[in-house]
Amino acid sequence: MKPTSNKMMTGAEIFFESLKKEKVEYVFGYPGGAVLKIYERLYDIKDLKHILVRHEQGATHMAEGYAKASGKVGVVLVTSGPGATNTVTGIADAYMDSVPIVVFTGQVPSTLIGNDAFQEADIVGITRPITKHNFLVRDVKELASTIKKAFYIASTGRPGPVLVDLPKDVIASVCEFEYPEKVELRGYNPNFVGHQNSIKKAAEVISVSKKPLLYVGGGVIMSDAYRELRLFAKENNIPVTMTLQGLGAFPMTDSQSLGMLGMHGTYWANMAVNNCDVLVSLGARFDDRVTGKIDEFATRSYKIHVDIDPTCIDKNVVVDLPIVGDVKHVLAELAAEMNSAPDTKDWWEQINKWREECPLEYNNSDGKLRTEYVLSTLNNKTEGKAVIVTDVGQHQMWVSQYYKFTEPRSHITSGGLGTMGFSLPASIGASFAIKDRPVVSISGDGGFQMNIQELITAAYYKLPIKFLLINNSFLGMVRQWQELFHNEKYSFTDLSDSNPDFVKVAEAMGIKAYSTDSPKDVEGLLDEALAYDKGPILIEFKVVKEDMVFPIIPAGKTIKEIITKRLDPKEMM
């Protein structure tokens, strides 16, 4: 370890010097007692932008949005106790979706740890199962090397959240600043290079397959493997289906894209999975929302699973050929090993038949406003190139169906944890990262209220975010399950009597806002929103209350049990 500087510094100074070494541009934070020393130092720091949030959960989602949009590590700074515990949901979200963020939490002085001191919480203990790794810094001499490790662990291998707990006395202590150039972690060696013989075998199997399918997950986007994917799919004329996190890895406008698979995936993508003879999973994890009933998932196929995380392999579905490695590297090697492209002519004929059998449809003729129409119009106006940040629920699934993503890092959503309240703050983070394309935040009326306080953050920083609020006055997805699976007992999902006036809320935050319930207004309002660049703008779309997302394969079921439309015509609204 070579010293990069020999200056004596306080922990707070070391903290910022270390962030500078990691080329951190933005910190999403909220001050408090245990981090006062850091904020004291921050007061005089000019080259780092601190974004003041309104709630620490918002900060974590902003860091996630920033990380997902930029590919860089998102950084959060909060105080001890409640400041730290408020980050838990965002950390869990980042853990489930493998988002590289580093969360710095203040902590009571080390001498008081364990004494139930004011604003004390054992955040290292609390977050142990939801972080890739976490640290309690016990000595200022370990601070710089711990920060180095935190960024390294968060951003390499399968990315994920790392938490660093900073006791108040450590931050105030002084030592010599040395930023290590290398990380030494004998227990952490992510494997980037896939096994050569396995890659060769995979190429052989794919070459002779008749019905191959590429099943693409978020890993392809994280490892920047989308060029390799496009090349490989194109050269070999293999159909591509994507998971929720994989959307954008392959252009959905391309004829080879089958769209999303799984519970609310397209009929043809799910039929293709069920009938393929070789299934190539690239950076995906066979999540239950993808597989449905595990025992009957893609039973006819030879399964190749490429993933950088060995624990993903054989966890849910037992595969025939595992390849542990960085999907970017593996795909490049795989392409080089292919002697001939598989003959997929008949397979494509079959897939195209499925496309016609059960296309994505919605009622567009009764003059009522529907989410699908809003999203299709948005898609047309932005040509699939906007950065779409969604929340969780029906609108999220409709986005996956009706917004045709063409670029990676354009679809930002909470998939694994399914965190309502994600979109609003995550779009703020994305907006700091993305300047050349519109950032559109889409939420339902339920999720929008879960981090609604961050509207003022968006307004204060004059971020040109387009907030599209899909208001059906219901917790729509839960309502849908109640209708389909819970005897139509609409228990506590109807918000029509309790929703606020969203336009007034937005206006109170200094945000321009409109509301409509007419399809006729959609084009004009979207045009205005997309053109407006002076700050955020909110458009509330009051849509049909009782619409459902179709198709749906009920949880734990198979393609045979797919529901493609509402059965009872009397119920059609």
Partner: protein, 170 residues
């Protein structure tokens, strides 16, 4: 089937907790778990006796490997190994049974480490099945209390055939 998994971990604050959190969070079984320093003071060895089908054991090994603080994970179950456990067992006695209990201790190559006018404490070491056998035999006398260390295990050194050894030494 029971598996004995040996894990070398960083001798850090919180490492033990990380492993335990992993087992509880993923719903893995723990029959016994022991931890102590190794010949290298900054590395500890954990010996975990767990059970599950092959898929679960594979996940346990992989998940342990994934922890940043684990250095090496070995499933010793299908390898030649030495497994030992230590048990302290306090058994009630009366005049008629005292010698019997001492004898049982001797049969299991145990030691009497404490005695008062009501009970005897035996110290037993051996493979876990031997400890189980001793407990089984002592149970009818009335076990007052018992402490078991959990299994510790090491892989056996590789046995080199004599002819090979000779060729190596000459």
């Amino acid at each position: 089937m029971k598996h004995t998994i040996s894990v070398l971990v960083e001798n850090h604050f919180g490492t033990f907790n990380r492993v335990v959190t992993l087992f509880s969070g993923k719903g893995f079984n723990v029959h016994s778990l022991s931890i102590g320093e190794t010949e290298t003071p900054d590395i500890s060895r954990m010996t975990i006796v767990t059970s599950g089908d092959d898929k679960i054991i594979e996940q346990i090994v992989k998940q342990l490997n994934r922890l940043v603080d684990t250095i090496k994970v070995v499933d010793l179950s299908n390898q030649p190994r030495t497994e030992r456990e230590l048990a302290l067992i306090t058994v009630y006695y009366h005049r008629g049974t005292r010698n019997e209990i001492v004898n049982i201790g001797n049969i299991f190559r145990g030691k009497v480490v404490d005695i008062n006018n009501k009970s005897i404490t035996l110290e037993l070491t051996g493979p876990p099945d031997k400890i189980e056998a001793a407990i089984n035999v002592l149970e009818p006398y009335g076990i007052k209390e018992m402490a078991r260390s959990g299994t510790v295990a090491l892989k056996r050194g590789e046995q080199i055939k004599r002819d090979k050894l000779e060729s190596l030494t000459t």
